[in-house]
């Protein structure tokens, strides 16, 4: 059982190592790519040391990263706590769907980033505006997938629960929620991705802290090494949060993951 996943991990590491060697060759060794366009590993390392120690754009990398992480977490959690129940409700009640869907259909095609100007106008350049925009962008996938999750529940399962005399609240908690949970988790994953995308965009437009702000400052300073540090930091943060979510999903859906194996 272990060998295939180990081998997969090894191949992944090898690819990564290959890329780094290629990077090294193209920049430091041959100089084919000039330092003004893309940093060499050495320049990257210097930038990383600078922002980790003295700091850059007003803070150290850890503070910037933590700040961004906090905003994503808050926006994501608010989006999930509002989006999933709304999606479940719309999936369960045709009337709720009839009421809410028209509004949803109009709002949904608006790209989340189009909310940024309004958010800044209302709430300024601070955290609240960013949380609002993240909320709006992460909200949609949570709603849609929770809705679809409920609609896809097999009819006999619901009928079995009704036949057993299951009261309403227990029906929601023990039948509808678990039955829809594989789709709900798909929605959460998409919501998390949307959260990071939106956060970086919002911080690029206007911020005083955060990884997007680092990127924006590095661009203005024409500082390729620092741009790369910012990009890789976002990538790692996105990867780590997705990993956490996947862990939670695996735990919550043990009955389902095992069924797929």
């Amino acid at each position: 059982m272990k060998t295939p996943s180990n081998r997969k991990g090894l191949i992944g590491l090898a690819t990564l190592a290959g890329l780094i060697i290629l990077w090294f060759l193209l920049t430091s060794v041959t100089g084919w790519v000039s330092g003004g366009r893309f940093p060499s590993p050495a320049e990257f390392w210097m930038s990383l040391k600078q922002i980790s120690g003295r700091g850059y754009a007003g803070a150290t990398l850890a503070s910037h990263a933590l700040h961004s992480l906090k905003l994503v977490a808050m926006g994501f959690v608010v989006a999930v706590l509002t989006g999933v129940p709304l999606g479940l409700w719309m999936g369960w009640s045709r009337r709720a769907e009839a009421f809410i869907n028209p509004v949803f259909l109009i709002i949904r095609p608006i790209p989340p980033l189009a909310w940024i100007p309004l958010a800044i106008l209302w709430l300024g350049l601070g955290d609240a505006a960013k949380i609002m925009v993240i909320w709006f962008s992460a909200f949609v996938p949570s709603v849609i997938n929770a809705f679809t999750g409920v609609r896809n529940i097999e009819r006999p399962v619901l009928e079995a629960a009704r036949m057993l005399g299951t009261p309403r609240w227990r029906m929601v908690r023990e039948v509808i929620l678990p039955a829809a949970s594989p789709m709900i988790f798909t929605g959460l994953r998409l919501s998390l991705q949307a959260s990071w995308t939106t956060l970086v965009a919002a911080e690029l437009v206007g911020a005083l802290m955060g990884v997007g702000f680092v990127l924006n400052m590095a661009q203005q300073d024409i500082y390729p090494g620092m741009i790369l540090v910012g990009m890789i930091t976002v990538g790692l943060l996105g990867w780590a949060t997705t990993l956490l979510l996947t862990r939670a999903e695996r735990r919550a859906l043990a009955w389902n993951v095992a069924a797929r194996d």
């Binding site: 006999p156 079995a160 023990e174 009955w255 095992a258």
Partner: protein, 262 residues
């Protein structure tokens, strides 16, 4: 007590498609009645109306003289596709109906133990449904229904999704448990042998719009010819009295143009 009564029941789908036409059928307490008929004749609709999943367009479906209005644990259903809760263990699946009745935990575990024993599931109590074979899953569904001690048991082609060997085992099991705990059973199937082997009476339906064409008394023949002496289904199926009934139903169904099953 668990009598079922269909009185002049019609069912129309979508305002125009007549599915059932003037169904009249009285099922006595502890009687096992099977309905056979061609695909799409509305036999499952009959069961769903007793379950409370669907309402009659006209006429009355009643259980113990009370018209059916909604689903409830007094009318336990066993579905063709098992309809277990995959996120619950076998024990939790069986327990849900008991919890809904607000029984004390001690009483519940006693009843669950009894149901597990009845269906030979003791060693699988903590397994999840996906870890069990189809036959085992249907045992869980039957246990989940039996544990409620329902007045009537509604079985909608319960063995239709099982392979041939498992099916025979389950049929014998059902005979065993229904002899030990007699219940009023409404059993829907398109398998003629199954109906004759299991039921006290067999109702034959016409193709759509479904009407009850004929009701055969199997119990009288079974008792006269002492079918219960034979422990194996294949021995009963070889008896001349069994073959005679089966052929009769078979011919009756063949007259219905829509009959392509089996």
């Amino acid at each position: 007590m668990g009598s079922i009564s269909f009185q002049s029941v019609d069912k129309v789908f979508g305002g125009s498609v007549k599915a059932l036409d003037d169904i009249n059928l009285e099922i006595a307490d502890k009687e096992f009645v099977a309905i056979v008929g061609p695909s799409g004749c509305g036999k499952t609709t009959c069961l769903r109306m007793v379950a409370g999943f669907e309402a009659a367009s006209s006429g009355t479906v009643s259980v113990n003289g009370r018209p059916v209005t909604s689903p409830g644990p007094d009318r336990a259903v066993v579905f063709q596709q098992f309809a277990l809760f995959p996120w619950k263990t076998v024990r939790e699946n069986i327990d849900l109906g008991l919890r809904n009745k607000n029984l004390a935990i001690g009483e519940r575990s006693e009843l669950i133990a009894g149901a597990l024993k009845l269906m030979n599931l003791e060693s699988h109590a903590d397994a999840f449904p996906h870890q069990l074979s189809g036959g085992m899953q249907q045992r869980v569904a039957i246990a989940r229904a039996y544990v409620l001690d329902p007045e009537v048991l509604l079985m909608d082609e319960p063995f239709g999704a099982l392979d041939a060997q498992t099916r025979v085992v389950m049929q014998e099991e059902l005979v065993r448990i229904s002899r030990r705990n007699p219940r009023t059973v409404l059993f829907i199937t398109h398998a003629v042998e199954e109906a004759v082997y299991l039921a006290d009476r067999v109702a034959i339906m016409t193709r759509r719009p479904g009407r009850i064409k004929e009701v055969l008394d199997i119990k009288a023949v079974r008792e006269r010819e002492a079918w219960d002496k034979y422990p194996k289904i294949e021995d009963v199926m070889d008896l001349e009295s069994f073959v005679h009934l089966r052929t009769h139903i078979w011919k009756s169904l063949r007259e219905e143009k829509g009959f392509k099953d089996v």
